[in-house]
């Protein structure tokens, strides 16, 4: 795929800190790829995502994601928490981000709820659903927006292992079907190995790329396979002793 999103952040400093969190970070995000940003907690990964999402504009550099025709890319952001509106039903929450007439939006919302396995829950309120179901709804919302780029900030970190595993499988399946660009922030090496086409290993203070690794193993993957185990070992070492 020819499309890439070039990003260059010269510097990002928080007003209460003297040193920049991010300095001279250059990333080229290939269109359609699943890229994981893997790094220690507090490295500035969430800050980077907020910049890409347009929520944080207080930085120097260029992080505008543009399509081939120069139009801004449509960007979805999935937060660490589901962040659904508690006063809207699940269906209304998805419809909130959809476009078109009410009927079209409803149709789209129901389609995506079905895709994530939440058919039948559309009239429930978020307070009535489990943590895993809320994440599914948030995922449906992210896809229903029909994004070119999907940003995900450790979206499954608070779930129990089986729920997180089934959501990861769902995400892989949806990504392979839609081929949108995904930027996935995590500090979990195995999670990155399971999901990604490419892993960017990050250092902290300031955040910089210390390794850029393509993962070519076919899905479904087994993190116990020799190739992935070796990568995992290498990443662990690089994260504990950054050069």
């Amino acid at each position: 795929m020819a499309l890439t999103y070039p990003i260059h952040i010269h510097s990002k400093t928080f007003s209460n800190e003297s040193t920049p969190v991010i300095r001279d970070l250059e990333v080229a995000l290939p269109g359609g790829e699943f890229v994981s940003l893997l790094g220690p907690s507090g490295a500035g990964k969430s800050t980077f995502l907020n910049i890409l999402a347009g929520l944080d504009k207080d930085f120097e550099g260029n992080a505008a994601l543009k399509q081939e025709n120069g139009q801004p890319a449509r960007i979805s952001l999935m937060f660490q928490e589901p962040r659904l509106m508690p006063w809207l039903t699940i269906c209304d929450n998805i419809m909130l981000v959809c476009e078109g007439t009410k009927t079209q939006r409803k149709h789209q919302a129901l389609h995506w709820l079905q895709q994530v396995g939440l058919s039948g829950a559309e009239n429930q309120y978020p307070a009535q659903l489990s943590g895993g179901m809320l994440k599914r709804a948030a995922l449906a919302r992210a896809f229903a927006y029909e994004p070119d780029v999907l940003l995900m900030d450790e979206p499954f970190s608070s779930l129990d292992i089986p729920a997180a595993d089934s959501l990861r499988a769902l995400l892989t399946q949806l990504h392979q079907a839609r081929r949108i660009t995904v930027v996935y922030v995590t500090h979990d090496i195995n999670e990155a190995l399971m999901l990604s086409d490419r892993i960017l290993l990050l250092s902290s203070h300031p955040m910089q790329i210390i390794r850029d690794v393509a993962i070519t193993e076919p899905h479904p993957r087994n993190v116990q396979s020799p190739a992935l185990l070796a990568l995992s070992q290498g990443f662990k070492q690089a994260l504990t002793h950054p050069a």
């Binding site: 999402a53 347009g54 929520l55 960007i75 979805s76 952001l77 937060f79 928490e81 962040r83 509106m85 508690p86 006063w87 809207l88 209304d92 909130l96 981000v97 309120y125 978020p126 307070a127 919302r141 927006y145």
Partner: protein, 248 residues
């Protein structure tokens, strides 16, 4: 079992109170407390003469106008204070002052400054009530969840949709609290205003009955008024609350 018929229980408590009142009067025959039946009779007399509906309508109109203006003004002020720190700093001590000026003082000053007229009466009520609403709405603005607004921003929702579906619903509980408290306070202040400087309205009538020592009529008017407030609470505020807070 107890919560199966909440409306029934509310009605029963009122009936029990009335029965107790009637029995007490029949037993002790006090000079200064008429029986509820006598009050009812008196009430029907006032209604059929057309005098009670006339004054009640005037008072309700005053309540409605001052309530709406106080809500609008108070909400605007409160939201500004909640969202803009500098504005809050400027307005905060003035607000504390306004909250603590006795209603009577505002009323007297309004009548002296603006004359014994309708406008002065309405201004007096609005000035009294606005600070309470502003304080409640300021809390509402402060409690706005920025993380949910970030969702709206990240998904680039149209401004109107963000306002209607993300921002406003967070304020509904505060609007409700302000409206409830507002209504309870506004009608009390309106009566005092009418008593002091109007020549019509329920407050004015009550002051006449007071001069004639007509306790039965005082109670009849109070009863009529209480029924209206009950109707507003049960017919408008509670259904609205159920609708906007059903997700809880």
């Amino acid at each position: 079992m107890e919560t199966r018929h909440p409306a029934m229980i509310r009605v029963m408590s009122m009936i029990a109170f009335m029965l107790f009142w009637q029995l007490a009067v029949m037993l002790f025959k006090p000079d200064l407390l008429p029986a509820p039946l006598a009050v009812m009779q008196n009430l029907f007399g006032h209604i059929s003469s057309g005098e009670l509906p006339h004054h009640l309508a005037i008072t309700l109109r005053r309540i409605a106008i001052s309530f709406v203006f106080a809500m609008l003004l108070g909400s605007a002020l409160g939201l500004l204070m909640g969202h803009f720190k500098r504005f809050d700093l400027w307005a905060d001590s003035l607000m504390t002052l306004a909250l603590n000026v006795p209603a009577l003082v505002t009323i007297i000053l309004c009548f002296i400054w603006f004359g014994l007229n309708e406008t002065a009466a309405l201004i007096a009520v609005i000035v009294n009530k606005t600070p309470n609403i502003a304080v409640t709405m300021r809390e509402g603005a402060r409690a706005i969840d920025k993380r949910l607004l970030d969702v709206a921003k990240a998904y680039q929702l149209p401004a109107l949709r963000t306002f209607g579906k993300v921002y406003l619903p967070q304020l509904y509980p505060y609007f409700l609290a302000a409206a409830r408290g507002g209504l309870a306070l506004v009608w009390k202040i309106v009566l005092v205003v009418e008593l002091l400087g109007c020549s019509d309205g329920v407050g004015f009538q009550l002051s006449l009955f007071f001069q004639y020592f007509d306790i039965t009529s005082v109670l009849a008017y109070t009863l009529a008024f209480a029924c209206i407030i009950f109707a507003i609470e049960g017919g408008i505020l509670r259904p609205w609350e159920r609708r906007v807070l059903q997700w809880r």
